[in-house]
């Protein structure tokens, strides 16, 4: 029996464990296995193999039972996830349904999740803009949260590292607040977007409209072909999973790469209940997993553990990892675990009509989505009555206008015929929010999920700063659109709950001081150095750029640090 146990423990022992197989977990797995570490990748959901498990990817609209519309029963049963723009008949199988994993909305919060291998990397909007020191120095300069323990120079090479592998299209725009990277050719702006870009450049200081940088292979390099990926075909059906591997997902890229190394074991259907901390050894020794099929608890052991369960679930795992040493959650000596949670403010957009350019249109589809306006407020100095600022998505388009009056042969003909509409231009805000102690997540004191894990209480809301920023966005964009000669300008604000931005961040923030942060400059838990947290949970502040690229870079950097620490014997 003793021998059997020893053998069983041996089989459950790895060099490294990665909790989560999505955007950041995939990167941890890739980097660790590239360095020869025997790595266990844990995923709470099912496996989704590239191409093979994209059942809708090649369907034409008429091949869906409701031609793309979700049945009302599905919509009514899922008010939360149904608010996500990407949740449709072609993609619903990649989203967590509301009843599948409950949480407590102390304040309204739309938690959008993808529980499968690849996680939300199958579903993301693929926007990839680097952060700069205007972001990393933000909290220190403006006196909120805590100072980031890193600066741009620390992460610059790691941005390059992940960009080369993931494949990022973009122009070298030479904008200090949005540093250039390792780019594949950009998708171009269309005529109206270009006009606006030129207009803004000429008339505004430090404001730019650039081609959005995105994780699509405009022109693959050998490293992308080596992954089995090929050129983006401009389908814009990304949420179905891409059979070409045209955009970066863990499924198309990092996970199969890690598995091909021969060093990785992928275990789906594995909910991580907690990280096991050994009080005697003074370190984490493994994780406790609940098999979602058998409900059986199984322990796995490793020298180093990467927590990449996505921001909220990583907080949940850490909070639920209680021991004599850490009665309030792993690494939570400071009491800040779960606090200073933040998100992105997507609460306004604006649209207008554009005169002219009637002889021109576009042909095909633009996977980058159009233009991007980097943050221009409070960049070099504080200039408004709110802190920080917002970036803007921007796109111009026209469409065929049909007459829908009446019935019969004329109507039928009108459904084919129709003049092109004038050009329209639209923009939405992406605002930085300020992490606060009062925006937090915590374990529910009584309610548990079907795997015996406490439900997460989420208490996150907008504040005055967000509302002032929203007002400023509307004012500034209205002014810019007006000066540019756009007509019929209409701004609107929404009351979407935090979470629907799907940019939730923080709770286990990085910082210099263990008294006010959970993680150090290498994403190690201050007081438990063989545990790394490198997904959205680690974020000290939110900037206003889409965060995934930064998660990837932080993860690659941390994984290589872990490899060095193992070599040096600092982690055993």
């Amino acid at each position: 029996m003793a021998n059997l146990n020893t053998e069983s423990v041996k089989q459950r022992t790895f060099d490294a464990i990665v909790i989560g197989s999505g955007m950041s977990g995939g990167w941890a797995a890739k980097e660790l296995t590239d360095n020869g570490l025997k790595t266990l990748i844990l995923e709470r959901g099912r496996d989704v193999k590239h191409v093979k498990d994209y059942p809708t990817t090649n369907l034409y609209p008429w091949e869906f039972p409701h031609h793309g519309v979700l049945p009302m029963a599905v919509q009514e049963a899922n008010p939360i996830v149904n608010r996500c723009y990407a949740f449709g008949e072609d993609s619903a199988h990649f989203f967590v349904k509301d009843a599948e994993h409950l949480y407590v909305q102390v304040k309204p919060f739309d938690w959008i999740r993808g529980y499968q291998v690849g996680g939300k990397s199958l579903l993301w909007a693929r926007q990839t803009q680097r952060w700069s020191d205007f972001d990393y120095e933000g909290p220190a300069r403006d006196g909120f949260a805590v100072d980031w323990p890193i600066r741009y120079k620390d992460i610059d090479p790691w941005y390059s590292h992940v960009e080369k592998f993931a494949g990022i299209s973009g122009n070298r725009d030479g904008i200090p607040e949005l540093p250039d990277g390792e780019f594949l050719p950009a998708w171009p702006l269309n005529d109206v977007e270009s006009y606006f870009s030129d207009f803004v450049k000429k008339n505004y200081k430090n404001r730019y409209v650039i081609s959005a940088r995105c994780a699509h292979l405009s022109k693959p390099n050998q490293i992308h072909l080596d992954q089995g990926r090929s050129q983006c075909q401009e389908r814009e059906l990304c949420q179905r999973g891409c059979p070409f591997g045209g955009y970066f997902s863990a499924n198309a890229s990092t996970i199969p790469w890690a598995l091909r190394s021969g060093h990785a074991t992928l275990r789906p259907f594995s909910v991580v209940e907690s990280v096991i901390y050994d009080d005697k050894a003074g370190k984490a020794t493994g994780v406790r997993v609940i098999d979602t099929h058998t409900k059986e608890a199984i322990e796995y052991y490793a020298k180093v553990i990467f927590v990449n369960a996505a921001a909220l679930n990583s907080n949940l795992v850490l909070l639920n990892s209680k021991s004599t040493r850490f009665p309030n959650g792993l690494g939570n000596d400071s009491g800040v675990l779960g606090k200073y949670f933040a998100f992105h403010n997507y609460s306004a957009h604006i649209g207008a009509e554009v005169e002219g350019y009637t002889e021109w249109t576009t042909d095909g589809r633009n996977p980058a989505g159009g233009g991007y306006i980097p943050r221009f407020r409070n960049v070099y100095k504080q200039e408004t009555d709110f802190l920080r600022g917002y970036a803007c998505g921007l796109s111009a388009y026209r469409y065929r206008q049909h007459k829908y009056d009446g019935v019969g042969a004329d109507l039928k003909e009108n459904l084919v015929k129709g003049d092109l509409s004038p050009w329209y231009i639209g923009s939405h805000m992406m605002g930085e929010t300020i992490p606060k102690e009062t925006n937090f997540v915590a374990l529910d004191s009584s309610k548990k999920d079907e795997w015996g894990v406490p439900l997460l209480n989420i208490s996150v809301d907008y504040d005055d700063n967000d509302m002032k920023m929203q007002k400023d966005y509307v004012e500034q964009l209205t002014e810019m659109f007006t000066s540019a000669g756009f007509k019929n300008i209409k701004a609107s604000t929404n009351h979407q709950a935090p979470g629907l931005d799907i940019h939730e961040m923080g709770g286990a923030r990085m910082g210099k001081d263990p008294k006010t942060s959970i993680l150090n400059e290498w994403n190690q838990v201050h007081s438990c150095k063989n545990v790394y947290v490198t997904d959205g949970a680690c974020m000290t502040s939110t900037s206003c750029q889409n965060p995934s690229l930064t998660y990837m870079a932080l993860t690659a950097r941390a994984a290589n640090h872990a490899v060095e620490e193992l070599k040096k014997g600092n982690i055993t």
């Binding site: 091949e63 049945p71 009514e76 070409f244 003909e413």
Partner: protein
């Protein structure tokens, strides 16, 4: 992974297109409904209305394309219960209205009279001139129908018939060309070079 694997994946892409479920197309004029009850007479009425909205011309119409089957499926699956009730109530009112005006059922009317009935309902409830009519770019079911039953019935019929037609395989391959794999983005493209259907 090497280039051969890439090619293999691409073959899967292309091969995938032939392995698709045929869904409801070609399933004849019977369709099992889950949420609403439709009699044979009502099904015929809906089919007649579909054909009146999208008649056979030099290209197939609603009957030939079996559009009413899809319309019924949408009514059954994609509307709220209260809207389904309004639509069914509206269907009854529609029958009564036709009977009262023509002393015949809709199916017995001439094409001209059928069109007159439908456009009559449409015109009597048009937004007033200058009203804020949103550009109709999608005929997906509205989240909520906020109109009296007869209009709810008419709107649902018209929207879903148009949606059925414009997303049908016939329309998307013969009348316009829907591209699953465009493989291009031209940001600066002359309108005059657009393919017209």
């Amino acid at each position: 992974m090497d280039r051969r694997t890439v090619i293999k994946n691409l073959a899967l892409v292309i091969g995938g297109a032939t392995l698709l479920p045929s869904c409801i197309k070609g399933s004849g004029n019977y369709i099992p409904l889950k949420h609403i009850n439709i009699t044979a007479d009502q099904e015929k009425l809906i089919s007649d209305i579909c054909e009146t909205i999208i008649p056979k011309t030099d290209v197939p119409g609603a009957r030939e394309l079996n559009l009413h089957v899809f319309v019924l499926k949408m009514l059954d699956d994609c509307y709220k219960k209260k809207d389904q009730q309004a639509i069914m109530k509206g269907l009854g009112e529609f029958n009564a209205l036709v009977q009262k005006r023509y002393n015949q059922s809709f199916g017995d009317l001439s094409v001209k009279d059928r069109e007159a009935v439908l456009t009559g309902i449409e015109n009597s409830h048009k937004p007033k001139a200058g009203g804020n009519k949103p550009p109709a770019r999608s005929f997906r079911p509205q989240k909520d129908l906020h109109v009296p039953p007869l209009d709810a019935f008419y709107q649902a019929m018209k929207q879903q018939t148009i949606f059925a037609y414009t997303t049908s395989q016939f329309f998307m391959t013969k009348e316009i060309v829907y591209e699953l794999v465009p493989g291009r983005y031209n940001a600066h493209f002359p309108v005059k070079n657009l393919k017209t259907a």
